[in-house]
Structure formats: C-alpha cells, structure tokens
C-alpha cells in the first residue's frame, strides 16, 4: 500500500547501496528530483537500468553512484553525447562503469516481461547485429512450433524503480498520461517502487482506460513539484530544451560538472534544479 513520504525518506528507505535501480521516463516525466535525491544521499555501487539514460543518469554516473549500466541508448537527445557517461566508459572517471547494452526493442520487452513476472522476454530481435557478441545476456531460443530462431533476454526486475507521474489521489493511485514509456512496467517489475508526483488531488479524472496504477501496487509516493524538470510533464510544464543543450557544455568538463553538481544538487535541498 502506497505510503506518502518525503522524497528524502523514500529514497533513504528503499534505495540501498549496491541495489539494482530503474529510473524510467521515455524522454517524458524523467525523475530528475528523485535522481538528485539519490545523488545527495551518496548512494554507491548502483546497477542503473534505463532504456534512454540521459542527463539524470549522466549526473548519477558523474557523481559516482553507478557500478553498472544496463541501457539501449545513452545520449543527450537531439544534442549529442553524455560526456560523464563517456568519461566513465572511456577513461574510468570517477571510476569504471560496466555496461550491458541492448536495443530498445529488447529493453522494452524485458520491462514488459519483468512486469509480467517472467524470467525472460522473447522477441524477433538482434538479427545480424553484433550486440549479442558483446552482451552475454542476449541468447537465442528456437520456437517449438515453427523452428524460428528468436532472441531472448532476461527480464528487468529492479530492486527498486523510481518514476515521476502527473498526479496521485489521496489513496495513492497514480495517473501517468502522455508519453507513458515503460513507467507502468518499471513499477510493476520492481521489488519496491517510489513514484514522485506533481500534486495530490481528490480525483484523478482519468478516462476508463487511462494508465492508472493502483496505490496498493506502489510502495512510496512523494510530492516533487517540477520533479521531472528540465524534462517535462504533459499538462504541467514543457521540456527545457535549452538546458539540454547547455548540459553539453556543463558536462564536457569535470570541474564545471562538479561545480554544477554542488550548486544544483548537493546544496539544493530536496528539489530538482
């Protein structure tokens, strides 16, 4: 049953050093506030899972929280590289990060399979790609009906998932709307889940088939106004594309990054920058 906690308390209770953590949001509703709280609490040795690690993962990696990264596209969308990720992978700063690399199709299916309680996802994938040669988590099975060779990947079952959503009602039921990505899957696949929301409302005012996640399937809800910023929340505020472009300069240099992190995360209370 969802408990209403402060973001600080939710992260302190559920995100342990060494945990496997998914913070999802497919370019929309990216849980920046939650990610910053993880950085502030100096969590270490995390295995970070995310289809599209973008700025918040760049920040987590640069801040030294990550040991491993499981992902399918790691860039600053429309801008370029994630310099902190590259620095960790190419030069081992602040330390080496091990990467397990997939395609989007495989990761999406792996989240789906995780939510479905299965140990594996099966897809028609990776045909002719060299990714299976560098990721031993990609295997192939034979269809017992047709003999077709299909790809198999382990399902995603994080210890804890953190996602951001528009709103929760007073019973902790959550509405996610717009580009819903794999948020529902991330929550359902996880051992524990933390959802940050823009606001708590009396009535979700959701359509009959809206993406609503019941409170009893969530562990903690924390209000984090503008919790996805500089990403966006459909119906609340737009994406700050300018910041995404500026990040390229900030993240390119270790010192500039450190300064940014100090000013905007460590010395910035429980709020996203």
């Amino acid at each position: 049953m969802a408990e209403f906690l402060s973001l600080h308390d939710a992260v302190a209770r559920y995100v342990e050093d060494g945990a496997t953590v998914a913070m999802e949001g497919f370019t929309h509703l990216i849980p920046f506030a939650a990610g910053h709280e993880v950085i502030r609490q100096r969590k270490r040795d995390l295995t970070l899972i995310r289809m599209t690690p973008d700025l918040v993962y760049d920040q987590l990696i640069g801040a030294g929280c990550a040991k491993k990264l499981i992902f399918s596209w790691g860039g600053n969308p429309g801008v370029g590289s994630l310099h902190r990720l590259r620095d960790a992978v190419e030069k081992g700063w602040p330390h080496k990060v091990e990467i397990f690399e997939h395609s989007h199709a495989a990761m999406a299916c792996a989240f789906e399979a995780g939510a479905a309680g299965l140990p594996l996802a099966v897809l028609r994938g990776y045909v002719g790609s060299e990714l299976p040669s560098v990721n031993d988590q990609i295997k192939f099975i034979e269809c017992p009906f047709t003999g077709e060779r299909l790809a198999a990947v382990p399902s995603v079952r994080p210890d804890v998932s953190l996602v951001h959503a528009q709103k929760a009602d007073r019973k902790g039921n959550v509405l996610v709307e717009g580009i819903i990505g794999v948020q529902k899957e991330a929550i359902l696949a996880a051992g524990k889940s933390i959802v940050t929301v823009e606001e708590i409302v009396d009535d979700l005012e959701a359509g009959p088939n809206a993406c609503v996640i019941p409170g009893w399937a969530i562990d903690a809800i924390a209000v984090a106004e503008k919790g996805a910023y500089p990403s966006y929340a459909h119906g609340y505020y737009p994406r700050n594309n300018r910041f995404y472009k500026e990040w390229d300069t900030i993240a390119r240099d270790r010192d500039t990054f450190q300064t940014w992190l100090d000013e905007n995360v460590f010395n910035a209370g429980g709020q996203a920058q």
Binding site: S72, G78, H104, L123, G178, I180, H234, N241
Partner: protein
C-alpha cells in the same frame, strides 16, 4: 532558388517517402525529412516515433524522440513496449527512416562506438530502436552526410544490420524486412545492388561530381551505368523546409 547541400539532402530524403506510407522515424535528419514530406507531397504519410506516438503531426521538429509536441499532435500514444511489439515487430511499418554515425558498403550501420568495444576511442549513444527497425520494417531509408568518416569500408561494429559483412546476412532469414533500399546524402543517392547488395550510386545531386563522391567515401564506390541527376528542390519545398526550421528554432530558443 538557391539552396544548401543540407537542404538538397533533406528534400531528396523527403521525396523518398510516398503518401500513405507508415514510417518509423528516427530523430534528427530522418525526422526533418519525414516531416517535410508530410508538409509537401505526402500529407497522409503516417509518422511514428519510438516514444509511442502513433500518427503524429508535429508543428515544429522535436529535439528529442519524445517531445510533448509529438504526443499532443498524435492520433494516440501507446506504451513503449506496445510500440516495439505490436507496431514494429507486428509488421505495421512500411519504412524505417534512420540516420547513423558510420555506414559501410553493405549498408551496415554503426552507432555504438569507434574503436574497440572494450576500450572505445569514442563511445556513441548505442543502438536505440535501430537494430529492430532495420529488420522488422518493410524497408529502410538511410540519410546522413557524406564523408570518409561516415562512409567506411568496414564499420567498427555492426549495431544495425544492412546486409552483413558479406552482403548475404538477410538471405533465408524468415520474417525479415527487405532492409536498406536507399541511402540519401548531401552528395548523392545510393541503392544496394539487387544481387550483391553493395551500395551503388544511382543519382548525383546537381553540380556534384563522381570524384567528389569517391573522395568522400572510404571504399571504391560503384556508380550505376545510367547515372541520374537528382531533381532540384522546388521553391515550395525549400520554403516549407525553411519555415519548419525557423519555427523549430524559435520554439526551442524560446523555452526556458
């Protein structure tokens, strides 16, 4: 009307799309070309982005694959697992439109890294949707700038299958798309040879020479016997493209 080689590339890439096609759109150049097609000769082209937005009609170009504009102007938005399972793998996509960092003579694409996988010289963003777009879509169009850095003899890593290291990797594979059918650059248009699958230049953009193309290509590229000249962009195409880019610029600069 004057135009840049980048505009020539986008307009030519746009023309590859036919009205009514369903197109799975990559971000960047493909997105620019696909939206130009929609705003000119192909009003009913169906644009699908991997963020889950089905049949979207953005007024400005998205910076990311999941800008709010894409969802707001879409017929509907589905989850990302559904997008990859039902719509892409389910065979509902006529054409995948991709960019790339490296491409080789057999149209294999590399967006993973330059150098060795374990000790990369340059780490690129990775595969994203491309590996399965390239195999599950009916066919694939590719657009990128022409240079020796991008057109290499052998890609450092096959992130996404063209026709394999030997041109035969699709042969006999069940339920696979036709693969790349054209590559559009700022210099020319190429198509794979129907037999060997090796890329062949079929059309030079106006004013471009065979030498220029060869100089920008990392292998000895073949030219079709009947080498066409790519049609010039029309004034309308250029107007629409420039308006689109100006609108986009204003929108993204104005955001705080």
């Amino acid at each position: 009307m004057e135009y840049t080689s980048a505009e020539m590339m986008t307009v030519t890439a746009a023309k590859a799309l036919e009205n009514g096609m369903t197109c799975f759109v990559g971000i960047g150049l493909p997105s620019e070309a696909a939206n130009l097609a929609r705003l000119t000769h192909a009003p009913d082209v169906v644009l699908i982005y991997e963020s889950g937005t089905l049949q979207t009609k953005p007024d400005v170009l998205p910076l990311s694959i999941g800008d709010g504009e894409l969802c707001e102007s879409a017929l509907t938005t589905v989850s990302v697992p559904e997008m990859f399972r039902y719509w892409l793998q389910g065979g509902k996509i006529d054409v995948g439109f991709l960019g790339t960092a490296q491409i080789d003579r057999y149209c294999n694409l590399n967006t993973t890294l330059i150098g060795d996988y374990q000790a990369p010289k340059v780490r690129l963003p990775g595969g994203g949707g491309a590996p399965e777009i390239a195999t599950c879509a009916g066919e694939v169009f590719i657009t990128l700038k022409h240079s020796k850095r991008t057109f290499v003899d052998q890609v450092d890593f096959i992130t996404t299958l063209g026709f394999g290291r030997d041109g035969k990797a699709r042969d006999g594979v069940p339920n696979i798309g036709r693969g790349p059918t054209r590559v559009i650059t700022d210099l020319c248009v190429m198509k794979p040879d129907p037999e060997t699958r090796e890329l062949v230049v079929v059309s030079l953009h106006p004013g471009v020479t065979v030498e220029q193309v060869q100089d920008a290509t990392g292998w000895e590229i073949r030219f079709a016997e009947q080498l066409d000249t790519t049609p010039m962009p029309s004034a309308n195409e250029l107007d629409v493209l420039r308006d689109l880019k100006a609108r986009t610029e204003r929108k993204h600069a104005g955001e705080a």
